[in-house]
């Protein structure tokens, strides 16, 4: 066999034509890998109850998440669910397409970073096996959310992601803040789930179906506009809870502050992205602007939500004294930016796919920079340095490398070049303008300017202020350092590496509108 022929054979092996030979369910490989890893962790925990072998637990979780990430990346690269059209499973209850894979890539990347970081963070804690398995179950729930194609699966997967999250927030059960935050999160979550479920039932009442495509078709008939509208709005409320958008955001500052910092990172990056993933799909596929009756103007709802969320998040962040709480509010502000992806849509708008894709790309970059920022907080907590801005004074003299990374995250979150956050925000605003919503972009830009104020406070405290006391940083947490560095390198590399991300995101978003 000659060399070219061998190459041709190899290419054929990897080509989607050959892929078609695999059974369809294998397209769910990332979700399955995550779920199986969670079960394996439970198994380890039941064999060796209350194991404190952090290396084993963190290693298995990281490996599982990395394998899921690899499977996702491979599927994205070979065009699973894209080249041959979306793959639907279980009577259309689930769908695997470019968008679900794109978001799964975000979740799994975040899980990799979080599990690496947890290795150090949890070292002296009990019940580690439960912690890791809950993270992985939540992650599989999120991945399912991105694949959900029916309101029933949306509800189930959303709860699968939420229930472990409540427990994770309350993981430090000796710590009052953690427990209180977990309870509040749970109560608000229960309320939101009630609203959400009620919304689903109203939609079902109006349309007689839970499958997205059927809902869209039924809605185009124009019957029961009032009932359907109520349902749509309440469904939006459920997603607003998951994405921590105003007024469903009340749980967020407390949960992010009280939870162990890796969990805050996980919730504010991955869980939020999952909320957006499912919201994007539901509103674009089930309630499409092109055919929905005019009376159901959900774009207006998202415009209000976006403006209020980013403004409130940024204003509240500006006055915080506690860095972790500031990040919590900044995370709410970023939810407002990402909401532009839905708020700047219009029926038949030429840039609909681009603006949605830009929002997805922003969530991707956000996954790295925000996770990194929270993991830096985790490292600071591990060192036993205080939580306020003053406590960070002069930290750079002690830990310059980590502080460089944190400065990268801060500037990237603020949207300054030359970091990944600059391009993602730039494209988001640019596409919003292209689609005719210059005022949304303008409000977003004004909020970004305000955000520079409080992000730069962290940088100023670390680099320019004199330390108020002496630091006893103790040991260097290897895992945390590694996770923070991965996030920092990711944030920096996403500047030159942004074109493929935005191209993928806009392509997969474009197919939703096709």
């Amino acid at each position: 066999m000659t060399a070219p022929a061998a190459f041709a054979g190899l290419t054929a092996l990897a080509s989607p034509m050959q892929m078609g030979q695999l059974p369809d369910w294998t397209a769910l490989a990332p979700v399955l890998i995550l779920a199986v890893t969670g079960l394996v962790l439970l198994l380890i925990d039941s064999i060796d109850a209350d194991t404190t072998n952090s290396a084993l637990l963190a290693g298995v979780s990281t490996l599982g998440a990395a394998a899921a990430l690899a499977a996702t990346a491979w599927s994205l690269a070979t065009g699973v669910g894209q080249d041959g059209g979306a793959i639907t499973l279980f009577a259309d209850a689930l769908v695997v397409d470019g968008m679900s894979l794109f978001f799964t890539a975000i979740f799994t990347s975040v899980v990799v970073m979080v599990t690496i970081a947890s290795y150090d963070y949890l070292r002296d804690h009990k019940h580690q096996g439960e912690f890791y398995s809950l993270v992985l179950f939540a992650a599989s729930g999120m991945a399912l959310m991105a694949s959900a194609n029916s309101l029933a699966t949306v509800l189930v997967s959303l709860e699968l992601a939420s229930l472990p999250s409540y427990v994770l927030v309350a993981y430090l059960k000796e710590n009052r803040g953690s427990v209180e935050a977990g309870l509040k999160y749970f109560l608000i979550g229960a309320l939101s789930a009630a609203v959400f479920t009620f919304g689903i039932s109203l939609v079902y009442a109006a349309t007689g179906s839970l499958i997205f495509a059927d809902i869209a078709e039924a809605l185009s008939g124009g019957e029961f506009v009032g009932i359907a509208g109520l349902g749509v709005l309440m469904v939006a409320g459920g997603f607003a809870f998951k994405t921590a958008s105003v007024p469903f955001h009340f749980w967020a500052p407390e949960a992010y502050e009280g939870a162990p910092a890796p969990v805050s990172a996980f919730l504010s990056s991955a869980s939020k992205a999952a909320g957006f993933a499912v919201a994007f799909r539901v509103f674009v596929e089930a309630f499409p602007l092109a055919t929905i009756p005019e009376g159901i103007n959900w774009v207006l709802a998202f415009q209000i939500l976006a403006v209020v969320t980013m403004t409130l998040g940024n204003f509240a962040a500006a006055t915080q004294e506690n860095v972790k709480r500031m990040l919590a509010y900044s995370s709410i502000g970023h939810a407002g930016y990402a909401l532009i992806g839905l708020a700047a849509l219009s029926a038949g708008g030429s840039a609909n796919g681009n603006v949605l894709g830009a929002s997805m790309a922003h969530l991707f970059v956000y996954g790295f920079m925000n996770t990194g920022a929270f993991l830096f907080i985790a490292m600071v907590e591990r060192w036993g340095v205080g939580r306020t801005f003053e406590d960070y004074n002069g930290l750079a003299t002690q830990a310059p490398v980590a502080c460089v990374a944190m400065s990268v995250f801060m500037f990237s979150l603020a949207g300054l070049p030359p970091f990944g956050g600059f391009f993602s925000k730039y494209f988001l605003f640019f596409e919003a303008i292209e689609n005719g919503f210059w005022w949304l972009a303008a409000i977003g830009a004004l909020n970004s300017v305000l955000s520079l104020f409080y992000y730069s406070r962290v940088v100023r405290a670390m680099w320019f202020e004199d330390p108020s006391g002496s630091f006893e940083l103790g040991s260097q947490p290897v895992g945390l350092y590694a996770a923070v560095m991965i996030a920092a390198v990711g944030t920096v590399l996403l500047l030159p590496g942004f074109p493929p991300v935005i191209e993928t995101a806009q392509t997969v978003a474009g197919t939703l509108f096709a």
């Binding site: 109520l230 007024p247 006055t319």
Partner: protein, 687 residues
């Protein structure tokens, strides 16, 4: 096949590496990093020679090279940028010739620095050689740039390096101040250049120098009425007027860097830097950059007659104006500084009057003889223990013959005495201005007249300098017993002296016209190259768009050439003769009193510094005060207002977060209801 062009990036990178080596390892190396610099520039020189030979066709067919190396913004699918920003190379006859000049002078300056800096026991040598390396690299990068933005970036690097090197002796009082002045004055011009670059992008969507899609080609097409819709003119101007504006904006940078009136004031002060640096700045790098830029985008300038006229007039005026200031200076380097301003004026005069070849020719000969004169002056300064006052010298001829004879060769070239190189190039500059002036552009005749008059002054100040320095009796003890110089000073002088004598022979236009021999090598050299970048194309453009045509005096072109040459030679000799009669005496005295009140004006450089300081101090400060008031009162007021409103509302927002879950549940429900009411009313759900 691997050819010379594959190594062109190395020409730029080698000095850059020497910069890094000198900067980081210089203090561990013998000679403070000098050897790295010498090796690097020697390597660049060899590669440049190879490149020139390739362009000339000695290694096969004559060829040129244009290559985009790196696209650093735009050009990717799906990105909304309408244009690409790139780094690329453009090697054509002009740039390869310039490469040769720059690398040669840079190499010789490095060698000379061994004598001027190392042997004199200066400290901070790694910093010095790092600066030289970066300076050379920046200039070389500028020379090979294939688009205006890249050229601008390296142009700025050149400016930065000049700042670093002029201020090399930063512990003394004058050098840092001179460095700042050089930086700020050239920055003032570069500000317009930057706007010009943006304007070029906005107008053409590209800043490439060469090719069918380059901005000179697009401009030409627009003016010729083909595809005029491709260019966006601003402010409702027609293309011709708008191109003039763009050309003048870019010209701002040129005027600053090439020290043309009125932005020439930084250059005499820049003499505070080490003398080898002065040689590098004046002969091959910084000052040459401006003129080179005009030559590089000559296809654009040739389209706008107004710009050409301004270039010619500014050039002619600067040539005369600077030459008159040169006649009263006491310090040897000051004389040379004003001569540089004046000589670059000639180049601008040539460019403005359609003499692209003449300007390039003078750029080359000037590089050699001015580098020679500065290095010669450096040799004298070593000998005089860093006393630069010519009135303290005298009689050095017998004590340092190598320096004397090489310096004399350079002086003869500078003064434009037959048959030294400066004669040929200056003669061609004046000839071009004259014939195009006679051909129906009277403004050029005025510029020509100023240039011609400047020849007399040039002859005078040059030989005043030579006589005061080398002739007569020694006037001080130092001059009687000068410090010796070594091979590393004499070697570069000898090389440059040879070039200063013979470089003119490559383009003896009057001789060619007289004998009919094909010896106008530079004409042939610049006539080939990428289409649109040849001298022939440029002369078509100046003819078609600026209506430059050739007019003659008696005897046709030959007669005009001979008359022009004879007149300028006569004036140069007259100036030299006057200097001879006044200063070539055993004990010369100052004759400046005879100038009467003009003396004060000349000594004070026409009060140029004073008025610029007045502009900067009184006018600009007044405006700044007003702006400051506005800023403090209105802008800060608004900003502070906004921030206190933000913080206040931020703390209000904080108060919503009470920590009580039932409050949250209530607010959440109320928020949902509010949304519901808004959407319901708007969508008519309740009817």
């Amino acid at each position: 096949m691997v050819g010379a062009f594959d190594f062109v990036p190395a020409i730029v990178l080698l000095p850059f590496f020497s910069f890094l080596v000198a900067l980081f390892l210089g203090k561990y190396m013998p000679k403070g990093g000098a050897l790295a610099g010498i090796t690097a520039t020697a390597g660049s020189l060899l590669l440049s020679i190879w490149t020139v030979l390739t362009v000339a066709g000695f290694t096969g067919t004559a060829t040129t090279y244009q290559q985009t190396l790196y696209t650093w913004a735009g050009g990717m699918e799906g990105t909304p940028l309408p244009y690409e920003l790139t780094f690329g190379l453009l090697i054509d006859p002009l740039s390869s010739m310039m490469l040769l000049i720059v690398t040669l002078v840079a190499f010789l300056v490095h060698v000379f620095s061994l004598g001027y800096m190392n042997d004199e026991g200066e400290t901070g040598l790694p910093r010095y050689y790092a600066g030289l390396g970066l300076f050379s690299a920046s200039m070389l990068g500028f020379v090979v740039a294939d688009n205006l933005l890249m050229a601008f970036m390296f142009f700025e690097l050149v400016g930065l390096c000049s700042y670093l090197l002029i201020g090399f002796w930063f512990r003394e009082e004058a050098p840092p101040s001179a460095a700042k002045k050089a930086f700020l004055v050239t920055r003032f011009g570069d500000y317009f250049f930057l706007i010009g670059v943006v304007a070029v992008f906005a107008t053409f969507g590209t800043a490439a120098f060469a090719g069918d899609g380059s901005f000179p080609a697009l401009a030409e097409a627009a003016l010729a009425g083909e595809g005029g819709g491709d260019v966006n003119t601003l402010f409702g101007l027609d293309p011709q007027a708008w191109f003039t504006v763009v050309g003048l904006l870019v010209l701002g940078g040129v005027v600053g860097k090439s020290a043309q009136f009125p932005l020439h004031t930084w250059l005499p002060d820049a003499m505070e830097g080490p003398t080898p640096v002065s040689a590098l700045i004046h002969a091959a790098t910084m000052v040459a950059a401006g003129v080179y830029l005009v030559a590089r985008m000559y296809g654009f300038y040739a389209l706008t007659p107004t710009t050409l006229a301004i270039i010619a007039f500014v050039g002619g005026f600067t040539a005369l104006f600077a030459a008159t200031m040169g006649v009263v200076k006491r310090e040897i380097k000051q004389v040379l500084a004003y001569s540089t301003i004046s000589q670059y004026g000639y180049m601008m005069l040539a460019l403005g009057s359609g003499g692209y070849i003449a300007a390039t020719f003078h750029l080359m000969t000037h590089a050699f003889f001015k580098a020679l004169l500065f290095l010669g002056a450096g040799s004298v300064i070593i000998a005089m223990h860093h006393n630069e006052n010519m009135w303290d010298m005298g009689g050095l001829k017998d004590r340092m013959p190598t320096t004397y004879y090489t310096f004399l060769a350079g002086s003869l070239a500078l003064a434009g005495i037959f048959p030294f190189s400066g004669f040929w190039s200056k003669d061609e500059v004046l000839y071009e201005a004259l014939v195009h002036g006679l051909g129906g552009s009277p403004l050029l005749l005025a510029a020509w007249a100023m240039g011609l008059l400047a020849v007399f002054f040039t002859g005078f100040y040059t030989f005043r300098m030579v006589f005061l320095t080398f002739h007569g009796k020694p006037r001080t003890d130092t001059a009687r017993n000068p410090h010796g110089v070594r091979w590393n000073v004499k070697g570069p002088l000898a090389v440059l002296a040879v070039l200063a004598v013979v470089a003119g022979f490559i383009n003896m236009v009057p001789v060619a016209k007289l004998t009919g021999l094909e010896i106008e090598f530079l004409h042939d050299w610049l006539a080939h190259g990428p289409s649109g970048l040849t001298s022939e194309h440029y002369s078509e453009l100046t003819h078609d768009y600026a209506n430059y045509s050739v007019g003659t005096l008696v005897g046709g072109e030959l007669g005009t050439a001979l008359i022009s040459g004879a007149v300028s030679l006569g004036l140069a000799l007259a100036g030299a003769g006057l200097a001879y009669s006044l200063y070539n005496v055993p004990e010369p005295v100052e004759h400046t009193d005879r100038l009467g009140s003009a003396k004060d004006v000349l000594f004070n450089n026409y009060y140029q510094d004073e008025y610029q300081v007045w502009l900067a101090n009184d006018v600009a400060r007044g405006i700044s005060r007003g702006a400051d008031k506005f800023d403090q009162g209105v802008v800060d007021g608004v900003v502070n207002g906004i921030s206190s409103v933000s913080l206040l509302s931020g703390s209000r927002v904080r108060r919503i977060q009470t920590g009580v879950v039932s409050n949250y549940a209530a607010l959440l429900t109320l928020g949902l209801v509010a949304l519901l009411v808004i959407l319901g009313l708007q969508g008519g759900w309740f009817v």
